[in-house]
């Protein structure tokens, strides 16, 4: 067979270096070309990651057994010999940027799998890459100062799951820098400054929210084919809101990043919630940031020991609770005297204007009793109030020195409303902590008492700070505006916000870090609009744009004029769907002869097709129950005609 000259540019020789010319025949296979090429460059190195990219066809020549003829390569082909894994700047859900080597030659689905392996995120099928929103040029100087965590040195391993060292993948244990990267990945970020939140792009409408979904990369094609270059920036995000088998034990990074994505979705009003929910999210963020700063995450502890610990602890609490009828000795850490105080007491009765009256109060078990004076406190109290099961709410204004505890105590006749007015912060913190524990049936001897006091103090401190104008935030205190969306920055001053968040906070203050993160995710997932990805579409036969919402279990049709859901279709009833790639139209058939068809406006129909197929793939996972990812099925469901 006649031989001809084939020019191949070798990237490693530098951009200026001339192409290497090889003499080849058409029946030479690609492997042979690479061999010749390597011999000719005379560079000794590991070439195993290298492959040839055919520029005109936008195609990698990965099948080394195929001949040039089979590929259809002639002398005019512009070929590039380069590594398949190249550095990529990855924007993480927590807002940090990571540089790592990603695969540019395989479908994005596999690229994401590789990235997740390095980052120690299970179930990579739930994530994908998208093109970032272009940032305004103005802030360029600031961007350059941005810290980039480097992971490019991580060797590419083929093991399905990296070896663990100290609970993290072994490659993170190599150096202090690597450990810092792992910390960034696995520990939640402190709340952002309110200005940072305010500066971020916030979608104002469903249509705005739809635009982001046009940016997803195609899972079935590789990065090179989608115009992503070395060192380009892409975002890594959870795409399919169907989180399988979340386990705090194995999913440290996954949970942290998911939490970050959820947190930003709420702060930027990407998902709507009520004011009460926002306050709860705020309280959880506050708690999470506080706990994650104070306690480094525990590496696996022995379950049996924990059992014993908790058994002993609960016994102790019980013993103390039981024996206390004889004693006030229980009031341990802070000393008994602190919990016997002169406190003003007020019980609002209808149509009376009686104010507060001072009594001598005593805290015992889960009850408070009060007496006329200290001297009479040995006798029978005027009244004893059991706080178990009651609602405790703060009514505090630090600047006005108002420290009220509002108690709503259930009784057969209804709720009894009682106010306790404390003299000062310290007294308030202790009594408030006592009341909260008692409402949960715990005594002052409970080990959480000190923590409770501490958290109340820190919250008071926060209010103090915010009342002195907007002091710059530091690690110590958090501006409550950092915890809620900008809408509430306008609606409430920080000092108005603090008591509201504090109110919600009391229900979550006892949670461990993991539990708090899980709770945050749970509440997020329970929001009515959770998991909806929007696309603007035009239904067949309709003259106006409408929005299609794609959820993990259903499709919804939203009328833009009304802003309301007009129709819901569930995947369970779906019989088949087709894509007409020529006219870019999707057609879906549901049971009962329901057919819908639409063209996509804000996103390519491949993206919509992939969303629907992806969710159907996600729903098959529970049945498969195996650890290996059925990649073939994913591509079958999401690939479209290009994959076949």
């Amino acid at each position: 067979m006649a031989s001809w000259d084939l020019a191949v540019t070798v990237e490693d020789l530098g951009s200026d270096a001339p192409a290497v010319t090889l003499s080849v025949a058409s029946d030479l296979h690609v492997g042979g070309v690479i061999l010749k090429l390597v011999e000719k460059t005379q560079i000794k190195r590991d070439w195993s990651d290298h492959a040839i990219w055919w520029e005109q066809k936008q195609q990698w020549l990965l099948r080394t057994a195929w001949t040039l003829e089979k590929y259809g390569i002639h002398a005019d082909a512009r070929l590039l010999f380069m590594p398949q894994h190249k550095p990529l700047k990855l924007g993480l859900p927590n807002g940090k940027t990571l540089r790592l080597k990603a695969c540019f030659s395989r479908p994005v689905f596999q690229t994401v799998m590789g990235i997740c392996k390095i980052l120690d995120i299970r179930h990579p099928e739930e994530l994908s890459l998208l093109r970032p929103i272009e940032e305004k040029k103005k802030k360029k100087d600031k961007d350059s100062a941005e810290e980039i965590y480097d992971l490019t040195e991580v060797p590419l391993s083929s093991a399905s799951r990296p070896l663990l060292y100290d609970g993290m993948p072994a490659h993170f244990a190599d150096s202090p820098e690597m450990e810092a990267v792992y910390k960034m990945l696995s520990v939640t970020q402190p709340p952002p400054a309110p200005e940072v939140i305010a500066k971020q792009y916030r979608p104002a409408s469903v249509v705005d929210k739809a635009h982001i979904n046009g940016r997803w990369l195609d899972s079935s094609r590789c990065l090179m084919q989608q115009g992503i270059q070395e060192n380009d920036r892409v975002w890594l995000r959870f795409k399919y809101f169907s989180f399988y088998d979340m386990d705090p034990k194995y999913d440290v990074v996954r949970l942290t990043q998911l939490y970050e994505q959820a947190r930003w979705a709420i702060l930027l009003e990407d998902i709507d919630c009520t004011e009460e929910e926002m306050m709860l999210f705020g309280a959880l963020q506050y708690h999470i940031s506080k706990v994650s700063q104070s306690e480094p995450q525990m590496v696996s502890s022995n379950a049996a020991m924990d059992d014993l610990d908790s058994a002993l602890q609960s016994l102790e609490v019980k013993l103390e609770g039981e024996s206390s009828s004889a004693s006030d000795m229980l009031v341990g850490h802070i000393g008994l005297d602190n919990m016997r105080n002169m406190i003003s007491y007020f019980r609002p009765k209808r149509l009376t204007l009686k104010g507060y009256k001072q009594y001598w109060f005593k805290f015992q078990d889960t009850s408070i009793s009060y007496f006329k004076s200290k001297e009479e406190s040995i006798g029978e109290p005027i009244q004893q109030i059991n706080l178990k099961g009651c609602e405790v709410a703060p009514d505090v204004n630090v600047t006005a020195q108002k420290f009220l505890i509002r108690l709503l105590i259930p009784a057969p006749e209804g709720m009894n409303e009682v106010y306790l007015r404390c003299e000062n912060e310290e007294q308030y913190a202790q009594w408030m902590a006592g009341c909260r524990l008692a409402s949960k049936g715990k005594t002052l001897a409970d080990s959480s008492f000190q923590n409770e006091i501490q958290s109340i103090r820190s919250f008071l401190a926060m209010q103090k700070k915010s009342s002195h104008g907007n002091a710059p935030t530091n690690d110590e205190s958090i501006n409550t505006h950092s915890l809620v969306s900008p809408r509430y920055h306008k609606k409430y001053k920080a000092k108005q916000l603090t008591p509201r968040i504090l109110d919600a906070y009391q229900n979550v203050a006892q949670l461990s870090l993991t539990d708090a993160v899980m709770r945050f995710l749970q509440i997020w997932q329970a929001l009515p609009d959770f998991g909806l990805s929007y696309v603007v579409v035009r239904f067949k036969g309709s003259r106006k744009d409408e929005v299609l919402g794609i959820a993990p279990n259903r499709l919804i049709r939203i009328d833009l004029a009304v802003g309301d859901v007009v129709k819901t279709w569930r995947y369970n009833n779906m019989k088949q769907w087709n894509v007409n790639w020529d006219i870019r139209q999707m057609a879906i058939e549901f049971e009962g002869n329901i057919n819908i068809a639409f063209g996509c406006v804000t996103a390519d129909c491949k993206i919509v097709h992939e969303f629907i197929g992806g969710y159907i793939f996600m729903s098959t996972r529970s049945r498969a129950k195996s650890d290996t990812l059925n990649e073939e099925l994913f591509h079958k469901l999401t690939g479209g005609h290009e994959a076949l």
């Binding site: 002993l312 024996s323 009244q383 259930p410 057969p412 709720m415 749970q522």
Partner: protein, 685 residues
């Protein structure tokens, strides 16, 4: 007559009392006699005890007690001589004592003819006996035995203080022993190991620390020998509290604990907190250190010492569990059946509604169906609620007031699990009832309840709200979210951020209001009520909502249940279905004598038992299981439909018939819902 939880157990008047009540009575009588005898002998043996300090006592006759005394003696010796104590022997003693306590507990607590006694527990009955000599003891016993609802504000005018104090007997008793055990352990540890420890750590090894906090502290810092300020404080605290309980115990149980008296200054009454030995620990430092070191190590690699430490920990754990069991409250309740008869039974404070239902079903031979429910009816407020299977019954009943007119009904309610039998009518937010293939129902349920989070059905629409304190009902647009019930304020769109929170669901239960058209002038009779379970009387804190039709009402009630209980509801249903299937298995074997655990048995053993008897079912594959499950539910729904059409239901197979009608005259359906059973009954007889 309507009976409340707190009842006079009077057997002459107990017309419908069944055999069990009589057994109870007999046992109780025998027990009383025994105790009387004991009291006498004790009075004789200790004439110097002032009467008001006459404490409850323990049978001195059995071997357990002898060995118990013996071990106490050993401890004292060990304390003096610093010898190592055989902890295991001590644990064995503790266990036997516990057993003894258990047998006393297991005997009926209803003090027949002697006192009004309903809500009672081991402590109280002992108290009664202890004060048997004087009538004051009995009366104070009955007053403290009264079900005083937790959380109510009460003025402690009655017999208080001392009576309550004396009843701390059993726990304190055991506590004291436990503490002494650890005391001696510490002592031993100090003797043997002080040379190897720094002064700081030997100090703390001889010091009781609050095990939870101090151990956690260790784990966090990893430093072992340091004693932080916080820790030091807790040392002081806990040694104080232990002194309290120990001396309290010796006061209260003076008769049987005389050996303890030599150790603890207990000649003084409880008010004086003599400083007890400043050192004790459940686990001494060394043991806990060893335990920490061996955590996760396989058994065969442990050294002898480590194994011993592990054993020690295990023993303590067992002892703790036993103590918990000894503390169990029991409650005699009256359950009303739909035929106006009633049953008296005893429930354990740990029992769930499911467990109580099981034992009721077993006793009443009324055939198994998942629809059997315990229904709380609050007559005064004309509302009712089906208790969820996972709820704790005693906890709920304790919310009733003493003079409550409330009733507990045992009846079949089709609406209890209608949600799972026809999920399409509840989960899809549709307006009309519709059919769905079984396969799809399963998929739908799996989708809604199978995941990590349960999504609340999208319920929204116009409801009538009764204005606070007014007679009028006002229309509002309500929405249900996982975080609570909201409404759309006037003039606003229903965007999430503008919604006003009507109430959050954590503290309220949803009730079904009855006949509110005449009671409250409601627009319809399809009303639901949201209130805190402790509220028992008319109050502004009770919220009344009225729906246009029964379907909407059921959708709202069920959606609120989902929002409140989530996955637990589905688990309850699956469990109920499992039992139903098991019951069918039994009936086909025509073995009506199979027991599913009696009311007094422990929940653990009961569940063990039922899982054994369920074995035929649980061996099935899960997919097969759900399929058969829904097959059953479809039979039910079919029957229901046909039943309401007035047809003879020949659809049910004979086996099912049988199970339904065994002894069924005592059971049946009630109130406005005719169930499948009654319809078939009519055709059958």
């Amino acid at each position: 007559a309507i009976k409340s939880v707190v009842q006079t157990v009077d057997h002459q008047e107990e017309e419908d009392s069944d055999k069990e009540d009589q057994d109870l009575d007999k046992m109780f009588g025998a027990w009383l006699g025994e105790l009387d005898k004991l009291t006498q002998s004790l009075d004789e043996s200790r004439p110097e005890e002032p009467p008001q300090r006459k404490a409850p006592l323990r049978q001195d006759t059995n071997m357990a007690n002898f060995s118990y005394r013996f071990s106490i003696y050993n401890i004292n010796e060990a304390l003096n001589q610093g010898e190592n104590v055989d902890l295991d022997a001590l644990m064995a003693d503790l266990c036997s004592i516990e057993q003894e306590l258990g047998t006393v507990n297991a005997k009926p607590n209803s003090a027949g003819g002697m006192a009004r006694l309903g809500l009672t527990d081991a402590k109280v009955s002992r108290q009664l006996v202890g004060g048997g000599g004087g009538s004051s003891g009995a009366s104070s016993g009955s007053s403290s035995a009264r079900a005083s609802p937790a959380g109510t504000i009460r003025v402690p005018a009655e017999h208080h203080g001392r009576a309550a104090l004396a009843s701390n007997f059993s726990l304190d008793d055991i506590t004291a022993q436990l503490e002494k055990a650890s005391l001696s352990m510490d002592e031993a540890a100090r003797q043997t190991s002080s040379h190897s420890l720094t002064s700081a750590s030997s100090y703390s090894s001889a010091t009781m620390r609050r095990p939870g906090s101090s151990q956690r502290h260790h784990r966090r810092t990893g430093s072992v020998g340091t004693v932080s300020e916080h820790e030091a404080r807790s040392i002081v605290h806990s040694s104080r509290s232990s002194a309290t309980s120990a001396s309290g115990a010796s006061v209260n149980s003076a008769s049987s604990m005389d050996s303890l008296d030599s150790v603890l200054c207990s000649d003084e009454p409880e008010g004086q907190q003599a400083a007890g030995p400043p050192s004790h620990s459940y686990l001494d430092r060394e043991t806990s250190l060893i335990l920490r070191n061996i955590a996760g190590k396989p058994c065969h690699l442990l050294t002898k010492e480590e194994q011993a430490a592990k054993l020690k920990a295990d023993n303590i754990r067992v002892a703790l569990e036993k103590i918990k069991e000894a503390q169990v409250k029991k409650l005699v309740i009256r359950v009303h059946l739909s035929d106006e008869s009633s049953k008296t039974m005893m429930v354990d404070e740990r029992q769930t509604v499911r467990q109580v239902l099981d034992s009721l079903l077993e006793k009443s031979h009324c055939g198994y169906s998942p629809d059997w429910s315990l229904v709380e009816t609050i007559n005064e407020l004309q509302m009712e609620r089906i208790f969820e299977d996972h709820e704790n019954l005693v906890e709920n009943l304790q919310n009733w007031t003493r003079d409550s007119q409330n009733r507990l009904m045992f009846t079949e309610r089709i609406e209890k699990y209608a949600l799972f039998k026809n999920p399409q009518n509840y989960l899809l937010g549709r307006k009309e009832t519709c059919e769905m293939a079984e396969r799809n129902k399963e998929a739908l349920l799996e989708e809604c309840f199978g995941g990590s989070t349960v999504s609340v059905p999208e319920m929204e629409g116009v409801l009538w709200l009764k204005e606070d304190g007014k007679k009028s009902w006002k229309k509002r647009y309500f929405l249900l979210r996982a975080s609570g019930i909201y409404y759309v304020p006037k003039g606003k769109a229903k965007a999430s951020r503008d919604l006003v929170c009507f109430l959050q669901l954590d503290h309220v239960n949803v009730y079904h209001g009855q006949d509110y058209k005449s009671k409250y002038k409601a627009p319809t009779d399809y009303c639901m009520v949201l209130k805190h379970p402790q509220i028992q009387k008319k109050s502004q804190y009770i919220k009344y909502l009225c729906c246009d039709d029964v379907r909407t009402l059921q959708q709202w009630i069920n959606s609120i249940r989902i929002a409140k209980y989530g996955k637990q509801l589905y688990i309850n249903f699956q469990e109920a279905m499992r039992r139903t299937e098991a019951a069918y298995d039994w009936s086909s074997l025509s073995s009506s004598s199979i027991k599913s655990g009696s009311s007094s048995s422990l929940p653990e053993s009961q569940s063990n038992h039922s899982s054994q008897s369920d074995s035929g079912v649980s061996e099935m594959t899960s997919s097969g299981h759900t399929r058969s499950q829904s097959a059953v539910s479809s039979i039910f729904s079919d029957a229901w439909r046909r039943g309401t059409q007035g047809e003879q239901s020949n659809v049910l197979d004979p086996g099912e018939h049988q199970t339904h009608f065994i002894g069924s005259p005592c059971s049946g359906a009630l109130i406005n819902l005719t169930t499948v059973v009654t319809v078939i009954l009519a055709g059958h007889f």
